[in-house]
Amino acid sequence: MGMRTKAAGKGRCKVAARGGMTIYEAVAQKAVLLKALDGHEEVEIDLSGVTELDTAGLQLLVLAKRVALKADKTLRLVAHSPACLEVLDCYGLGGYFGDPLVLASDGKEKKA
């Protein structure tokens, strides 16, 4: 389990999520995400390392996105792992995040 925040300067930061984003990690991850959004104008969440995403995890992403939209900040989800893509697809939420959904091959980030 892990979610690490790395400042990237100019009010930007990157959050790298690894392992599970499930109900077990949800409380801790909520704090991490909100804190990241609190201190930065632009947050990028790297999902390439997410091996498991459940509804609780998805809700966190939705929450983060909503907070960002409200505060006029930018939240980007990048490098979705297959597990993430499947869940987003399941819920039909790809469009909501507005991020390019690309198959993250080999966990490497690609920008469209």
């Binding site: 949800a26 991850q29 909100l34 459940d54 509804t55 809700q59 909503r66 399941c90 819920y91 039909g92």
Partner: protein
Amino acid sequence: MKPKSKSKADRGVAPPLELQPAQHTFVAECRELLRDMEDALLRLEKAPGDGEAVNAVFRAAHTIKGSSGVFGFDAIVAFTHGLESVIEDVRAGDVAVDADLIALLLSCGDHVALLVEAVAGGEAAPDESLSEAGATLAAQLAACTGAIAEPFPVAVAAPEPQAQVESLGGGGVASDTWHISLRFGRDVLRNGLDPLSFIRYLGTLGEVAAIATLFEAMPEAASMDPESCYLGVEIDFAGEIDKAALEDAFEFLRDDCAIRILPPHSHVGDYIRLIEELPEDKAMLGELLVRSGALTDRELEEGLKLQRALDEDYGQAADHGHAHKLGEILVGQGVVQNELVDAALEKQRTIQEHRARESHFVRVRADKLDELITLVGELVIAGAGTRLLALRAGLGDLIESTSTMERLVEEIRDGALSLRMVPIAETFGRFKRVVRDLGRELGKEVELVLSGTDTEVDKSMAERIGDPLMHLVRNALDHGIEPPEVRVQRGKPACGRIHLNAYHDSGVIVVEVNDDGGGLDRRRILETARVRGLVAPGQEPDEKELLDLVMEPGFSTAGEVTNVSGRGIGMDVVRRNVEALRGAVAIDSVDGQGTTVSIRLPLTLAIIDGFLVGVGGSGYVVPLEMVVECMELGAEDRAAIASRSYINLRGRVLPLLRLREVFEVPGEAGRRENIVVVQYAGRQAGFVVDSLVGEFQTVIKPLGKLFERLSGISGSTILGSGEVALIVDVPHLVQRATGEGSRREGVPPLARNTSISATPHGEAS
């Protein structure tokens, strides 16, 4: 819906549908509930603040919805749901009870009744006209949900209801997907269930054509609990699957989740209702449905027109300061949906209510009952035979044991007969609605008073008396009760009164229809009768004969023919129907004060307590309930009646009939004769017979067709000895002894037509 629905998985669409026994129960139950509902509505109309009545209406609608759900009668579920929501709002005080609402709810009740009858008729789905009517009502109901306690000049319904009706009535939407609407409970995740797995599972059953996730329910970041579930999804699902299977897919979620499933080609109204019920923003949901292909743009727009009209009203309401904000109501609805505990409790309660009721009543097929009664009849006859043998054998022990048995048989007989008895309240009950509706139509204010509703009558009698009563009540309303202006002029209260009364009177049941209207116009009756040649010129019929003329076929004194009555059919039909039940009709009318029509009917039909008398060698049975007393005919009286047909009974005149003469029994009377004093309709008469045998349980056997018109005899029975005894038609004979008999000496009693004398027609009845 409970999982048990699974077992009744045959939700076949193709009519005709074979009704399962359970469905018969469903139909019967629904009919009862609808009656309750109508009752409660009428009570509510009188006392708009009657909370108990509102609850009763709600209970009825709710239970009908529940049971229809169990059987998968979706049309009924959908319709009653709308009904239920309106009543819920009434309960909450958001919708005011006024005449229009009651009228609407009454018509909704009627519509549900039609739907139920369609089910009873084996139709799987209501036909088009019925669905259309349903859509109209549903739209009106939906419009009501928004109505505010204060009446507003602007109609709550959309400005062009007609146009809407058309568009809504257009039947199902084009899409062929199931629409599934899920709002997950907060604790779903904590309970170890993930909605994801259900969506994935759906994917294996068919194709998830479209899905939209809603998270409006999610609170602000600070108060959002990451372990709670705030999601809802709208799914369009394509797959060859029935509703039961679909519901089973969500079986684990059922208790934690608000699930709504609309089958393919559902009615647009259903979608609109769905949109309306969901807590989220309506426009958004609508778009969602369009996007997912469940609705087309046009369908949505037509449906939402209604919503818009509603919203405008809300706007106006706000100006008036009585605003129930749309949001508030929606939250109200949202709460209902999310309070799953409540829903579960309600469900449990309904089931308990069902059980409680089931334990009180057992439904039995009517023909089984009839069979039982026939058997009891045979038992009675066989018992009488045994007793006779015992008496002949003179064995004390045997006589004792047979008399014990006889007592038991008697109890069984009474018990079996009472199984068929129902209070007349049920028959009377339906007239409340008739009087109300008809009163409105005729512009008369009429109050219906019921009394003696506990009086029990045979079930088949209760059913068959309904039509004649209906005629009488309609007559009273149309001809009897005067218009309010006239009533006030005559110094009567503007509100007319119709009184239905029932009571037992020595072995017969009397049902009276009384109105406080203008009474029958004797002059006009006589005129009409003369014109029609029913009364010869110069002849003056007496009071009773005159009034009885009204019951002649085709007789009408109505100045104008209305669609209610006045066509001259009616009273003669009433008389025919009542006579077919071995009853009689009497009319009593006081000018300016009203008319009373009394129907007298025999109480039972199969087995009675009789009093056996002997005339010559044969036995005759007089129904015991009509027997007042028995006495020996003294020598003095005996001499006296040789020249006149009455005696002095303790200072009163008692008309006599010699049964020997009436039935033309050959031979001379014995040394002693007896009198059986009987009473019918308040008049007494004495039958002169040879011997008094005693009480006798009488199983009434109908006379064959050949003897149907035999006067003075109402049936036959079999004695213990195997001999046949005739049952004396007391009403007829009493009438003969007391009425016409004394007036018209010249005519032999049997030859006389008792209905109307002095008229040339001869086929009166």
